[in-house]
């Protein structure tokens, strides 16, 4: 038998105070980030803010600085990315956000392409993709994303409350929100773009982190049948976490492997999506051990229910 994790007796519950402090910090950052997104102050992607994006490549080398100085005269907010792993060399993505009207979006795209094509003499710029999102569509996508988030969180909470008791349901919900907020907060601190793909990643990791929590809770439920004496509750929880620890780590590893692959080889579009999932898997694993179960333990310590 090849085992990375031997039988463990780590006292996870014992360090819960430190974990709570860390988690509180993550949640506070996350909530501020969420507020910033809602009031529109965060770095929204063109799908939410509306905007124009051109992808293309030059025949001859062009530095990102030269391209930036050419474009920013007309569009001071332009964002330029060098597509390093694209099929063709010298490929760039140029974005400008928040056009006032639909017509302005179209106008901007034309001007932008003219500037890029005209600024480098005989160096031809071939457009491979162009994307215009008007303000109205951005509005729709924002509200769609909100609905998707609410609907899936609601669905998850309902399922958890049906399958487990009230306390576990609350604990699992807090742990899941904690993970989503943590990733949101970290992305905000890193000044990453909030777009539809990030929302997708957040929902996916909500499902993933819940899975982790559910596996631990399933084991706790099973083990509680064995512990029949009062005061043993924390022990039962702790040994449950230890028993499923190798599963938790192995699954996190396989998921990290595939998500890491996406991060390194999936290309520019999926890179931040993958990054969100990588952070999410790490946070999700942490929260199922250090957040969800300790909440149940604290609750039981204050208001004993199971071993009266």
């Amino acid at each position: 038998m090849f085992r990375i994790i031997r039988e463990t007796h780590i006292n996870f519950i014992g360090v819960r105070k430190y974990a709570f402090v860390l988690s509180a910090a993550l949640i506070i950052v996350g909530i501020s980030a969420f507020v910033m997104v809602v009031i529109g102050k965060a770095n929204l992607g063109i799908d939410f803010a509306g905007g124009v994006m051109v992808t293309g490549h030059f025949d001859q080398p062009v530095t990102i600085e030269d391209l930036r100085s050419a474009v920013t005269v007309e569009f001071p907010d332009a964002e330029i990315t060098n597509l390093k792993d694209f099929e063709k060399p010298n490929a760039f993505i140029v974005k400008t956000k928040r056009p006032e009207t639909e017509a302005e979006g179209k106008q901007r795209l034309e001007t932008l392409e003219k500037i890029i094509e005209g600024s480098f003499g005989g160096n031809t710029f071939t457009v491979v993709s162009e994307h215009i999102i008007g303000p109205a569509v951005g509005q729709t996508l924002r509200s769609d994303a909100q609905k998707a988030v609410l609907l899936s969180l609601f669905g998850i909470i309902v399922y958890i409350w049906i399958r487990f008791d009230f306390r576990s349901g609350i604990a699992a919900t807090i742990a899941t929100l904690h993970d989503v907020l943590a990733v949101l907060g970290i992305f905000y601190l890193l000044d990453m773009e909030f777009d539809l793909l990030l929302v997708t990643a957040l929902l996916t990791l909500a499902g993933y982190s819940l899975t982790d929590t559910v596996v631990v809770f399933d084991r706790i439920r099973e083990n509680l049948k064995k512990f029949r004496t009062k005061g043993e509750f924390a022990n039962a929880v702790n040994s449950s976490i230890n028993e499923v620890l190798s599963r938790t780590i192995n699954t996190s590893l396989t998921t990290l492997l595939v998500v890491g692959t996406l991060f390194f080889f999936g290309g520019e579009v999926l890179r931040y999506f993958a990054l969100a999932l990588i952070i999410g898997v790490l946070v999700g694993t942490y929260s199922s051990i250090f957040v969800a179960s300790p909440i149940v333990v604290e609750w039981e310590a204050r208001k004993p229910k199971r071993f009266k």
């Binding site: 993709s129 569509v137 997708t200």
Partner: protein, 578 residues
């Protein structure tokens, strides 16, 4: 073990179904670019057909155009807002049909928006022109049947030569041109209705047509041998049974449409078509004798009348049952229309929208201020409604503006496919290796389950006609990571059971039974989020939701049932490689 027989049978059935579902996709994906070109050259319809039956690739993978339009309601008066979106959709569908796009999507979104997806089509300027332009509704007369026959005979011999010349390069069997049975077609009848309502025509499906000899189908003749390659594919479809005259309107099986379009566009064929006439297809296909056919008309180019003079277009019930479309004529147009209809009684008048024929009813009588088009007795409310919408679209165009546009070049698509495929292979190999090394032989069994999962996933996508996008590939890759979780749960449980001193057999059984609850719960939570994403997400996000949803669902079977079945093949276990 007889009690496990059902699982073996079920798995076998699933594998067969999956092979069937995946077959077309497999054929398409393993074709080289040259093969595709050769096939398209031989039979333009066949490649399109294959693409429709295979897993579709999203715009981000094959390139294409995605446009969201808004109908400018503020420019329309209240009465014409009502079905403005439907009118615009009808016009766009009419124009997109025939572009050669395998799976165009044209659908209403919200109250005033229209989504148009043209996968594989990357001519953005042309697409915008097609989509954004105002509809042009014209009325034209048909060429006489005799003149049409002369032209068609000449074209036949040119195409025959053309196909003969191609014989060296392509040796292709005969496309089956089965006979469309004699079809009853538009005839005419005249009934007075109301004091000042003149009846334009009745399209009744109850008169027989004598098919001229030249339009007899020849079956099973190769393209190069058939001396009437064009006319043998045409079925005369219009005859006025009052006057006994035939008119050049022909039914053509849907699968021959691409081929005939190609022939008609050949320069040597174009030069044979007189300058004052043109071939026009019908706006949509119809079912005749159980076959889907398009109509091909030979119309005179001269514009007789413009749709903008039509007013008060409304669907109604005819006096003798069936549906009618009523209309009246504005002051400027009335005199001209009266003159036109008066001079051409008993002749068909083609209603041409954007160079396609919506319908060609016979003129029954001179129409002054109010007219009526009577649908044939076989026509349903849908046909009548289509005609109404087209007439309205020509009379009252719905102005649109583009509010979102995404053009993805084919290069970007190919780049994404390469990256997606590479990531998939790397991710898969790493997980297969890790699981195989960590859980040894049992890990290999889990790996087999995982491979089945991926195969079934592709098969389900093909069967559902789902679209694969770049985020969709990410969903598949994520499925690889998540779906082995079931086996990890089971194997860790088996290890625990073994440590308590149980026999191997008992440990395996207990491991599977006890892990089930956790596996089930964890699957449901993932499915809930995937479901929410599917319901509300658009385009690429939907692609992600679809692959994640099915990947996770299928893994419940492959990781739980199939792997257990493999464990059960061996009866007496003394040791277990885990």
């Amino acid at each position: 073990m007889p009690k496990h027989n059902w699982r073996i049978i079920m798995t076998a059935i699933l594998i067969i179904l999956a092979c069937v579902a995946f077959w077309n996709t497999f054929k398409l994906w393993t074709m080289s670019k040259g093969d595709k070109e050769a096939l398209n050259d031989r039979d333009p319809g066949a490649l399109l057909h294959l693409q429709q039956k295979a897993i579709r690739l999203g715009l981000d993978l094959q390139g294409g155009i995605h446009v969201v339009l808004r109908v400018k309601m503020e420019e329309l008066d209240k009465a014409s807002r009502e079905d403005a979106v439907e009118r615009a959709i009808q016009i766009i569908r009419n124009r997109v049909d025939g572009l050669g796009v395998a799976e165009p999507v044209i659908q209403k979104q919200g109250n005033d928006r229209i989504i148009v997806d043209l996968p594989g089509y990357t001519d953005a300027a042309r697409a915008e022109e097609l989509i954004g332009q105002t509809a042009l509704l014209e009325f034209k007369l048909l060429e006489t049947y005799d003149n049409a026959s002369l032209v068609l005979t000449k074209i036949d011999s040119v195409i025959h030569d053309y196909e003969l010349a191609r014989k060296d390069t392509t040796a292709e069997g005969a496309p089956d041109t089965a006979v469309i049975a004699q079809e009853t077609e538009p005839a005419i009848d005249s009934t007075a209705e109301g004091e000042d309502t003149d009846i334009l025509a009745e399209l009744m499906g109850d008169s027989a047509v004598d098919t001229a000899d030249m339009f007899a189908f020849d079956e099973d003749i190769g393209l190069d041998e058939n001396i009437n390659p064009l006319t043998s594919r045409l079925q005369l479809a219009m005859s006025n049974n009052r006057t006994g005259t035939n008119w050049p309107s022909f039914a053509i099986p849907k699968k021959d449409r691409e081929l005939i379009t190609k022939w008609l566009n050949l320069p040597q064929v174009q030069s044979l078509i007189p300058i004052d006439v043109q071939f026009c297809w019908s706006t949509r296909s119809e079912i005749r004798n159980g076959r889907e056919v398009y109509m091909l008309y030979l119309v005179k180019r001269k514009v007789q009348f413009l749709g903008k003079f039509l007013e008060n277009i409304a669907l109604g019930q005819g006096t003798y049952g069936g549906f009618v479309v009523n209309f009246s004529l504005s002051g400027d147009g009335a005199a001209r229309f009266a003159q036109l209809t008066g001079a051409n009684i008993d002749k068909p008048l083609a209603i041409v929208i954007d160079n396609k024929v919506e319908s060609a009813p016979f003129i029954n009588s001179k129409i002054r201020r109010r007219g009526q088009i009577t649908m044939g007795s076989s026509a349903g409310v849908k046909d009548a409604r289509n005609l109404e919408i087209v007439l309205k679209a020509g009379a009252l165009p719905a102005p649109v503006e583009i509010i979102e546009k995404n053009v993805v070049g084919a290069t970007l698509g190919i780049d994404s496919i390469k990256k997606g495929f590479f990531s998939f292979m790397v991710g898969l190999s790493l997980v297969l290796l890790l699981v195989g090394i960590y859980y040894r032989l049992s890990g290999v069994i889990a790996d087999i389950g995982l491979l089945f999962n991926l195969f079934f996933l592709l098969a389900v996508m093909a069967a559902l006609g789902a679209t694969l996008t770049m985020p969709g590939i990410a969903g598949i890759i994520l499925t690889i990571g998540i779906s082995v979780d079931s086996n990890i749960l089971i194997f860790e449980r088996i290890r625990e059971e073994l440590r308590t001193g149980k026999t191997v057999r008992a440990s395996i059984d207990a491991g599977y039974t006890r892990a089930f609850v956790a596996i089930f719960d964890s699957h449901v939570t993932t499915l809930v989020t995937a479901g929410a994403l599917f319901l509300l997400g658009s385009g690429p996000i939907k692609g992600f939701a679809v692959t994640l949803f099915w990947g996770v669902t299928i893994s419940l079977y492959t990781a739980y049932v199939i792997t257990k079945q493999i464990f059960d093949i061996r009866k007496g276990y003394r040791t277990l490689s885990i």
